[in-house]
Symmetry: C2
Subunit: 217 residues, 2 copies
DNA sequence: GTCTATACTTGGATAGAC
DNA sequence: GTCTATCCAAGTATAGAC
């Protein structure tokens, strides 16, 4: 599950040293995307951070873009696993919003979504990268949809607001909030929104608990 | 109103030829950001598109980053003016959503928001660019807030959901939707969301019209 | 004042060393 | 199989031509 569809020309086997080199380069690629963005994620910048020779990027991954995709894969699988665990412990809509808020803060602290945002924006510069990145976003939308379905699958709201569409919007909103928060180094406005969402979620569950006859149950 | 705070070292006066060169470079910068992204927006790439010598970028704008900021300024002022005109003709919440939908499609077609998204993402790579870009997003959030205030200033919803926070969320969502739509070349999911928003807006205005006594008017 | 030719730096990729 | 030394293209910036 950790390595989904690894892009072409990536060396996979090899001895321990090879594995360690790839691990170091992947970690450095993540850090570089977070701190210097896509435009700053050159083979040299990444290799220097990893303490490797820049040529190793091309030997092990074939191209800078492939290394960055491997970095995105690593972040995605790690995050999705964590999200799943966090969501599994939630039952109500409020708990879901609470979990989402906590996750958003974690993501912001650790810069996980920054990696995704930089890859999406950077995809414009590198031919063929767009579809690869798009493929890797699918699981995030799928995850959001599942979370929504679990939280209000039985609610009448589900029939009027298709979870697929809402999930797409949630991913987009999450992405946008991360970019804006990251840009001006102030997460307060985004957190205020999560707080409002919490309040609405409470209101909603109260309403559907108090007067379930709105839908003639 | 068109040129807000032009970044330092940008040549402003000069004869007609100078003005034309700056115009061509700015237009080319916009096109390059849209098609090749921030990482692809080098002085050479932009100048080639403009039919100019790449050295002119540095003569007229001092740096590539300054030229890109000038491009962002041009797009921002142009778009905000257009948004204002479109919003001015709307009265109800439904009409506001309709206008937003039309504008979103225009923006997607012409790649206006792409310019903003690329600049936000690219800001990570260039020291000092972040705050400049952040400054230029303020007007967009201000605009969204005004539109919201105008549409439901008198509604009880306004007191429970501060327009400033909602405006921030709208800008973030708009940004995220643009990035995702642009990435996989499919605007259908985003448009589906706008359609749902329209439906909710209708529902909302119907409710507040039918039972205005919720707030003891 | 405007622009071009040139200097120098950084980046992607590979031929060849180990 | 793994990695380094090296090559050449692309990038920024400016000195000097007009």
């Amino acid at each position: 599950m950790a390595k989904s569809g690894s892009p072409s020309k990536v060396r996979e086997g090899g001895d321990a040293r090879s594995v360690e080199t790839r691990r170091a380069l992947t970690a450095a690629a993540i850090a570089t995307l977070q701190e210097d963005g896509y435009a700053g994620a050159s083979a040299r910048a990444i290799a220097e951070r990893a303490g490797s020779n820049q040529g190793l990027v091309f030997y092990h991954f074939g191209s800078v873009a492939n290394l960055l995709l491997a970095a995105l894969d690593a972040v995605s699988s790690q995050r999705l696993e964590h999200y799943s665990a966090a969501i599994e412990r939630t039952g109500s809509l409020e708990e879901l919003v609470d979990a989402a808020t906590a996750i958003f803060q974690e993501d912001l602290d650790a810069g996980y979504v920054t990696v995704l945002a930089e890859m999406i924006a950077g995809a414009s510069s590198t031919p063929g990268l767009g579809s690869e990145v798009a493929t890797r976003i699918g699981p995030w939308t799928d995850f959001a949809q599942r979370a929504i379905d679990d939280a209000l699958g039985s609610s009448p709201l589900a029939s009027v607001l298709p979870s697929r569409d809402v999930a797409y919007g949630i991913v987009a909103l999450y992405l946008g909030l991360e970019m804006l928060s990251h840009l001006d180094g102030d997460r307060a406005p985004a957190l205020a929104l999560f707080a409002h969402a919490k309040r609405i979620a409470c209101l909603f569950s109260t309403l559907s608990g108090v007067s379930p006859r709105t839908e003639a149950t």
